[in-house]
Structure formats: C-alpha cells, structure tokens
Symmetry: C2
Subunit: 275 residues, 2 copies
C-alpha cells in the first residue's frame, strides 16, 4: 500500500505541476524586456535612497547598470553577478540585501553578434553601433568584450544627506584610466522619446576582465572586441513609492544638466573645440 | 486503500499547489500597472497601422483609451468593454480581431473615491484632480461618472495611405457637443518625465451613459459626479515591430504639435486671450 500511495503522490504532483506552465510562459515572455527601477530624472534631482533590493532586482535580469544607495559606486550586472564599482577603483560583489535607487536590467539574449577589429575611439564606437542597429526607436542592451587601448571610467563616493543634486555629486567623482586593458562594456541604448526615463542614446559602464575594477564609461579606444546586441521592444518600469520621490519636482527635464553629469566634460570641450 | 490513496492525492495536490503562489502573486502585482502599446510620438508622426489586436490588449486591462487602425475613431475601454467612438458620433463595440496603433489600459482598481458636487469647467476639473493626487510623479487612471452640463468631444475619420501626420489628420475631426448629458470620462494622468510616451498631464475620453456616443474630451462643465482615482507606479510598454515604426524619425519631441492636436484650439486661444 505504501508503494501505491507513493505512485499516487507522484501522479498527483505531475497533474498539479501541469497546471503551472501558464505562469512559466508568462515569465518566459517577460524575458525579452528591459526592467527599470525609478527614472534617471529622479537621480539628477539627488534622490539616492535605495528603493529595491538587489535580491528583487535579480528576478528581472542578469545584465545591466545602475547605482547604489547614497550614490556609492557604479553598478555592473554581468552574467547574473552584481558588482559595485567603488570610487577607490575597486570592485566588490553587491549584497542581496543592498538597495538600488536606479537600475536598468534585462535577461541578456543577443540578437546580433559582431566582431570589431579596427581601432575606434568612443564616438566612433557609438557611430559603429548606430550603424548596426535596425532602428533608433526601440531599446538595446549592448555587451562588448575586448581589449581596450584606453579606457576612462568614473565612480562617485557615497553622498551624505541632505543629498546634493547629481551635478554637484559628480564633482567628487574619481576617474580611472586604463591602458591595454581587457574587460567588458555593459550598457543600453534608449530611444530619444524615452528621455526622462534614462539617459538618451548610449549609457555604458565598464568592468575589467578580472572583475576587479571599472566604472561609468567616459571614454575609450577599442581594438579587437566582440559586440553583442540584444534588441528589446518591451519596457517595464517600477517607480519608487517613498516620500522623497513623491515630493520631488521633476517637471523640468534638465536635459543639459544630465548630459553634463554623465559624460566626460574634458572630452566634450575637446570635441567641441575640434569641430 | 482507495480512501488512503485519495487522501494522499489530496495532500499531494495541496503541497503542489502551495508551490504556485509565486506565479499568482506575480500576476496580482501586474494588475496595478499601466500597459501601453506604442508611443504617442509615433501617432503624431502619422503611424496609424494597427500593431496589437484588441483580443491581446484585453489581457492587459479593462479600462483605457486609445485609437484605431487608420485613426478611425477614439477608443474607450470601460468595465472590460471596448468601444469605438466614430467620427459620425456613434459608438460601436470593437471587434477582438481589430488592431490598435496606440492604446493605454489598466485593470482599474480605485485607490481614492471622491464625490464632486460643485460645478466645474474643464480646467477647474483638472486643478481639482491635481489637488487630490499625492504626487505628480506617478501614473493615474481616472474615472468620472456623472452629469455634465456641457461636454465637447472630437473624433477623427479613417485616414488613407500615405497617412498624414496627426496635426493634418485632426483637421478633419468632427466635434460633438452635449448638454445635460450623463456619462463617463475615462482617462489617465502621466508624469512630465513620461512625455514622448503619452500625452503629458491628463488625457481623457468620454462616453455617454447609454454607451452610444462620445470621443476624445476637449471641454466640459461637470456637476454631480463621482470621481475614482487609481494610483499606478508600474508602467509597461510594448513597442511596434513593423517597418513603419522602425523607419520613423521620432527624434524631435514635437511637443507643441502634439498639444495642439490633442486639445481644443478654440478653447486654448480663448484661455490665452483671457490670461
């Protein structure tokens, strides 16, 4: 009788679990989307309190970028690992219990793989990517593994309350420069109509091959790299529910302030003087 | 033994189904979001081909607004029914097989119910709503059932290819005016940072109490109405995959063009002259 009962349990479990594919297929369908916590417009305003744990964020992607509570470092999510790139140049694994104020993740699934062999600077790399996307009107996740003749990144130290706006906070940023460094660029391209949600155009972070250092990408010269592009037409966003977010005045788009905070000011003044 | 086996099956089923709440809670969580097909910026550009069937759209909401293939009328989704408000002033049920180029839906679940008793014009109504939301930084679905001293709506006739941009298409709009009419306003409020995705601020459609007529709301005077507000922090968007969308130049935000196409020009010129 004991055996019979076990067989019955097995059958019953099989029947019951056969009821579950609805949920699974829903999960599957969700995998080719971008999931974003908060909006970059809130970060520009100085909202650096965490609003979602990395434990929860992991349910939404294995690849991405973002920042940390108090703006303490830059986030790189790569192959399911969550790295915190500190302003002292070191990288560490982010704890599940830590919270992010702003992050964008996806389950990376390349639609296009390219082999990049010529030497390119940062703006040439962006033009190269622009030449290999089918439209500017959807989202893309971009992964570039390779050797970089030059890489310049930045990271920001933890801020204290009352938090300064991003334009002030990045004045304390530390920049790192690498020569002849292997590593991975992790980033996204947003369409122009999504400005306010994320950085328009490319937003990329970098982590070294040994996953020991990196930051928000400011400049680079790339040579010999493999480029993978994930085309993404579905976008999902969870807005914070805390009072700071509710009370923030986000009506002005502060486009220029954002652009300045997230790009290399030296590089921008160089490029404008050379044009 | 048969009894024992049945008990075992019952126990096993109970165990197995206890594994399912993860999926169910995920579904539950999805219900308090906004789901949007395409972006209004694409409609401004004249992209009126359908990109999702109403059958599929029904999975994402029972309440909402939008438009139809060829811009043929205004969409009102109310209590799970999908209405097409034609430019001749009549309403009909939209077929499941029909497709929408642009729609926003949610499963309506009121967080706040208000009783509106004073007489208010359109801009007073918007200010009243602004006074009853906790923050301008999330999304809201808004339902207003009541008696309207005055209602002005518009609807647009079907367009022919090559489609003109929205600013041209609305020149053919038919406006309807109602006095002392009972009915329902169905709409959303988007935060400013979501401009480009949808109309910033309020975007509302109207349908008469007998569900026989209505359109995109241009003006109103309301008296005795019940107002229900659904606060929504999660936003989901599916972008079109067709070539017209891929090829469209959506880089300029065309804010003024959109505002003009979606509001009452007479009303706007009146209000600007009175200010």
């Amino acid at each position: 009788m004991k055996n019979n009962a076990l067989i019955m349990i097995a059958v019953a479990l099989a029947v019951a679990t056969s009821l579950m594919p609805v949920a699974l297929s829903f999960e599957d369908a969700k995998e080719d989307n971008i999931f974003q916590v908060s909006v970059i417009r809130a970060t520009v305003e100085g909202l650096y309190d965490g609003v979602m744990t990395f434990e929860d964020l992991k349910d939404h992607g294995d690849f991405g970028i973002g920042t940390f509570e108090r703006l303490e470092g830059e986030l790189v999510v790569l192959d399911g690992e969550f790295y915190q790139l500190m302003s002292d140049g070191t990288a560490r694994i982010a704890k599940d219990s830590m919270e992010t104020p702003l992050a964008t993740v996806t389950f990376f699934d390349a639609d296009k793989n390219l082999s990049l062999e010529e030497e390119m600077n940062f703006s040439e790399l962006e033009s190269y990517l622009d030449g290999h996307i089918s439209t500017e009107n959807i989202f893309y996740a971009i992964r570039i593994d390779g050797t970089f003749d030059y890489i310049k990144t930045r990271s920001v130290p933890a801020q204290e309350k009352p938090y300064p706006p991003l334009a002030e906070a990045v004045k304390e940023q530390t920049t790192l420069e690498f020569n002849n460094m292997s590593g991975t660029i992790v980033g996204f391209r947003y369409p122009d109509f999504a400005q306010g949600l994320g950085l328009p155009g490319y937003h990329m972070h970098f982590i070294t091959f040994d996953r020991s250092s990196g930051g928000h990408l400011l400049d680079c010269v790339v040579r010999n790299a493999s480029v993978s592009i994930d085309e993404i037409s579905e976008f999902e966003m969870a807005l914070p529910k805390d009072q700071d977010f509710q009370r923030a005045d986000l009506s002005d788009d502060k486009k220029e302030e954002l652009k300045k905070a997230e790009s290399d000011t030296d590089l921008r003044s160089n490029s404008s003087s050379s044009s």
